[in-house]
């Protein structure tokens, strides 16, 4: 009899542990486990000052400028609340588009701009032919897209 | 108490034995013999509940048991080829750890006495690493002397024992059998068991074997 109670106690303990574990996991996922920081966090100085980090957001429409005769580009990354300037020297990936997602790796420079060493394009999960896209964009009157450097060279 | 029905053992593609059936009652000692590699050790490990038979079943106290059965684990004391000694610990500590593990109530005096009985009193406090082959086996005897298990399974218990050691084993076996215990032992030499209690089993005569 006593042994049986003890057994129940252990089983109860195990179940309780599993329950707590599940609760902990859920709470962890409700807070942010980040792969990148948002511009708002950058503006609020919630980012490391002394070491490289990642910034993610949308490329602000119409913000992309190129320095002549070099691969250096400037653009602004926004999370719709806040916006930060980014400079980058190098080839941009194919999917880099104004108005589309981007993840940039680098650090804050003294000029207040984010100096990227690497720019990754983050795209959404929609796949459709160009005609469909333009139809949708027409409908939404979405922002006009600028060709990426890569595509520009391909022409 | 201990019964087997059409037990078979297979290793690789070889059948070591099959159709092995016997019943062992309280106070009896099954002494398994047979040529090298005929499956004595394999049989003993099955009976101890360490490995599953390829076929057939093993019954303990009337109930069929599977490997690591709780009832069997309460009843069996297994002394195999391996000494189960920790080289870092002394003979005393090794024996104390064993008895606690087996849940025997044995205090320090009892342990010292058991070690003295196997002539290890003067070596009880040096690391087991330093003991001679026979002295290591003697710790196993001391363990049996403290054990209240009903079924002793002994694989070649005479290995490395001198004549004094054999005498100690004889006393232990006699007392155990007299008290209604069971013994299953494998050996190439005659075991010091009273003939009245002896049930010899020659594995070479069991069908299915293909030895060598």
């Amino acid at each position: 009899m006593k042994a049986r109670y003890r057994r129940f106690a252990w089983i109860g303990l195990g179940l309780a542990a599993v329950g707590i574990a599940v609760a902990l996991v859920l709470s962890a996922f409700r807070s942010n486990l980040v792969f990148f920081f948002t511009p708002s966090q950058v503006v609020a100085h919630e980012v490391p000052q002394s070491r490289p980090f990642r910034v993610g957001g949308l490329v602000e429409a119409g913000s992309l400028t190129r320095e002549p005769n070099s691969l250096t580009v400037r653009f602004r990354v926004t999370d719709t609340a806040k916006t930060i300037p980014v400079t980058y020297t190098g080839l941009l990936p194919d999917l880099f588009k104004e108005g589309k997602g981007v993840v940039a790796q680098g650090r804050m420079g003294p000029d207040g701009a984010f100096h990227a060493t690497e720019v990754l394009a983050k795209h959404d999960e929609n796949y459709m032919p160009p005609e469909a896209r333009s139809a949708i964009e027409q409908a939404q009157k979405g922002p006009e897209t600028m060709p990426s450097l890569h595509e520009a060279r391909a022409r | 108490m201990l019964e087997t029905r059409s037990l078979a053992a297979r290793r690789g593609f070889a059948t070591l034995f099959q159709g092995l059936g016997f019943a062992l009652a309280a106070g009896e000692a099954l002494v398994v013999s047979g040529p090298n590699g005929c499956g004595k050790t394999t049989l003993l490990r099955m009976l101890a509940g360490l490995s599953a038979p390829a076929e057939g079943e093993i019954c303990w106290d009337g109930a069929s048991v599977r490997p690591f059965d709780a009832k069997l684990r309460e009843a069996v004391a297994f002394n195999g080829h391996l000494p189960a000694l920790k080289d870092e610990l002394t003979a005393f500590e090794n024996l104390a750890a064993w008895t606690t593990l087996e849940n025997e109530r044995a205090d320090a005096q009892a342990i010292d006495r058991a070690l003295a009985d196997v002539a290890l009193a003067r070596r009880a406090r040096i690391p087991a690493r330093a003991l001679s082959q026979g002295q290591r086996r003697r710790i196993g005897l001391a363990r049996l002397s403290l054990s209240r298990r009903r079924l002793w399974i002994l694989d070649e218990p005479l290995t490395a024992l001198d004549s004094d050691g054999v005498e100690v084993l004889e006393t232990l076996l006699a007392a155990h059998l007299e008290g209604g215990g069971l013994v299953v032992a494998a050996s190439h030499q005659a075991l010091p068991v009273p003939t009245a209690n002896l049930r010899p089993l020659d594995l070479a005569t069991v069908p299915g074997g293909s030895h060598g």
């Binding site: 709470s27 | 391996l82 209240r148 209604g180």
Partner: protein, 235 residues
């Protein structure tokens, strides 16, 4: 010596079985007096190797810190895993343990606890001291210690599964590493991530709660997995 079946005092008691295995393994570990020192020295050396190998710019060091301290903890755990069960398997003790009437999950838990106390705990205590080398500050060191305290037991627990599964298998040490490292990887990611988070000014909360959750789940599950693996190994 009478072989009558006396009712055994507390054969089924989980805590007694746990204490037995824990006590025995700790005694053996402490018997080799140098043991604990050696563990710690290993950790110190590995942690100091990295700055030697890569060019030790201070800034790079700071980035590396958590990763190195964690990887070294992981390797210290990994290196001592083979001893955890292989010795007992080789000398027949594991047979006796598996055949004893005491509950096997509790016995192997005791062994795992002893492993953690002799490898994980010292590392968790030492790491904050070494962290200074890597330009880590007060909070970071505390979080490092907390993450290690939560994470190293998981390493011991998961490692034990690998250690028992490879018993009697060929290719010992590296096979074990191959089995265990993938299981270790999440611990490493969240463990090092916790320190990275505070360094970046974020809260280490999510990482620490994931580690805690992992620890709880491992505590519940591994004893049974390891017990099953032990029985498989003996078959």
């Amino acid at each position: 010596m009478s072989p009558t079946a006396v009712p055994q005092p507390d054969a089924a008691s989980v805590s007694a079985a746990f204490a037995w295995a824990l006590g025995r393994d700790l005694r053996i570990a402490l018997r080799s007096k140098a043991e604990l020192g050696v563990q710690l020295m290993f950790y110190v050396i590995v942690v100091s190797l990295f700055p030697l190998a890569s060019s030790p710019s201070r800034e790079v060091l700071a980035t590396l810190g958590p990763g190195v301290l964690w990887t070294a903890a992981l390797l210290a755990s990994l290196l001592s895993l083979p001893r955890l069960f292989a010795a007992d398997f080789g000398d027949g003790t594991l047979e006796q343990i598996a055949l004893s009437p005491r509950p096997l999950p509790a016995l192997v838990s005791g062994k795992m606890a002893a492993h953690w106390l002799t490898t994980g705990l010292p590392v968790a205590v030492l790491a904050p001291l070494l962290g200074e080398q890597y330009a880590m500050d007060g909070t970071e060191l505390w979080i490092l210690a907390a993450a290690l305290l939560l994470g190293t037991p998981i390493l011991s627990l998961l490692g034990a599964i690998g250690a028992t599964l490879t018993l009697g298998a060929r290719g010992g040490g590296s096979l074990l590493a191959l089995l265990v490292l993938p299981l270790y990887a999440p611990v490493l990611i969240f463990g090092a991530g916790a320190v990275d988070a505070v360094r970046s000014g974020l809260s280490a909360g999510p990482q620490l709660s994931l580690l805690a959750a992992g620890l709880l789940l491992a505590l519940v599950g591994t004893p049974f997995a390891v017990a099953a693996a032990v029985r498989i190994a003996l078959d």
